[in-house]
């Protein structure tokens, strides 16, 4: 095994073959007996000062009372915003207005109001012998219904 070649490869942090790796392991083992390694192992660890420690405690205590908002918020906010946006788009946007009665309405309030008026008119039936034109004018009932048109080819009220 060419020792110089391995050392060169090690210096350039090149990939070693398995054999070369084993040789490097052996050299590391050999180094264990060197005095430099023993001296490093014996180096003392400095304890930081009490002032340093109390400053750490103070900063940790401050950090502990801070609400952990950022990451929680980042986790929760996107789905909530997305859900709200989808709901708004579905209810107010074209996706909802095309499929619901009262498609002309531009807001939920006007749609509900219109829907309520139609429903009220539908349940007020004229008595026998009532003046039909007067009844329609009073109730504001539309004279032509899309449903009548679809089912009977014209308004039932007109046929009466």
């Amino acid at each position: 095994m060419n020792r110089e070649k391995i050392v060169q490869k090690v210096q350039h942090e090149e990939r070693l073959t398995p054999k070369e790796s084993a040789f490097l392991e052996a050299m590391l083992e050999e180094q264990r007996g060197q005095e430099a390694v023993a001296v490093v192992k014996s180096l003392k660890r400095d304890e930081p000062s009490l002032a340093w420690r109390s400053s750490v405690n103070e900063r940790i205590a401050k950090s502990a009372v801070k609400p952990r908002r950022s990451r929680q918020f980042i986790k929760v906010a996107p789905p909530v915003v997305l859900a709200a946006a989808l709901t708004a788009w579905f209810v107010l946007g074209y996706g909802g207005s095309e499929n619901l009665p009262g498609a002309n309405s531009t807001s939920i309030t006007s749609f509900l109001y219109e829907w309520h008026e139609e429903a009220s008119a539908a349940v007020i039936l004229p008595d026998a012998g009532t003046d039909l034109d007067g009844f329609l004018n009073r109730t504001g009932h539309q004279s032509r219904s899309d449903v009548d048109e679809l089912l009977y080819g014209g308004s039932v009220i007109e046929r009466l």
Partner: protein, 208 residues
């Protein structure tokens, strides 16, 4: 409560970090400052010592060592236990040291391993050295501290983590973010540089 805490403190002090009480770790995950202070107690000397030798400036070292613990506390929920707590703390320390060195405009020096004064870079152990009988003098320690300061940051971090902090190759690989093979290569080079420096010191001593 106080008795319980004292018992837990004793447990932490007398066990390796792999045996750290799960209760303490889960309390730290819930941002319990009192539980975290036990971890600071246990690791402050190791982390501070590592950072001081990496930065070679006491003021920076104190600042960065504090930052290590603050970051650890604030991000404890990210500690998943796959690495040991010491590896995780040294990883934070290593990253912060690199950041600080960059801010100070210090670039890691290139490694020069040209043999000088006829000394080969791969000498076997000096036969005059007998660790059993020889005492490590404070002058020798001083010489090694100076030699450590001359090492490039990447060599120094690996050497300190392995030979002083006794982390395994795999743990160093995780802490520093380099492959295990590179850890071994750097350790080999660092030890050689240190050995050369110590030899120069010993030769100087012998001449006097």
């Amino acid at each position: 409560m106080g008795i319980l805490l004292n018992n837990m403190r004793t447990t932490v002090r007398h066990s390796g970090d792999s045996a750290l009480d799960r209760t303490i770790i889960s309390r730290c995950k819930n941002r319990d400052a009192e539980a975290f202070s036990m971890i600071v107690d246990q690791y402050q000397a190791r982390i501070y010592g590592f950072v001081r030798r990496m930065l070679r400036n006491t003021e920076d070292a104190e600042d960065v060592a504090q930052e290590v613990f603050i970051k650890a506390f604030e991000n404890f929920d990210r500690f998943d236990g796959r690495a040991s707590l010491s590896t995780w703390l040294f990883k934070i320390a290593s990253n912060l040291c690199i950041d600080r060195a960059r801010k100070r405009g210090r670039r890691p020096e290139l490694v020069s391993l040209e043999p000088g004064n006829g000394e080969g870079i791969h000498d076997a152990a000096d036969s005059r050295w007998d660790p059993q009988s020889s005492a490590v003098t404070s002058e020798m320690e001083q010489a090694i501290e100076e030699a450590l300061a001359q090492l490039s940051e990447k060599l120094r971090s690996v050497l300190l983590l392995h030979d002083l902090e006794e982390l395994s190759y795999e743990e160093i690989s995780k802490a520093v973010g380099i492959p295990v093979g590179t850890v071994k290569s750097r350790l080999f080079l660092a030890r050689n540089q240190l050995q050369q420096a110590l030899k120069r010191y010993l030769i100087g001593e012998a001449r006097q």
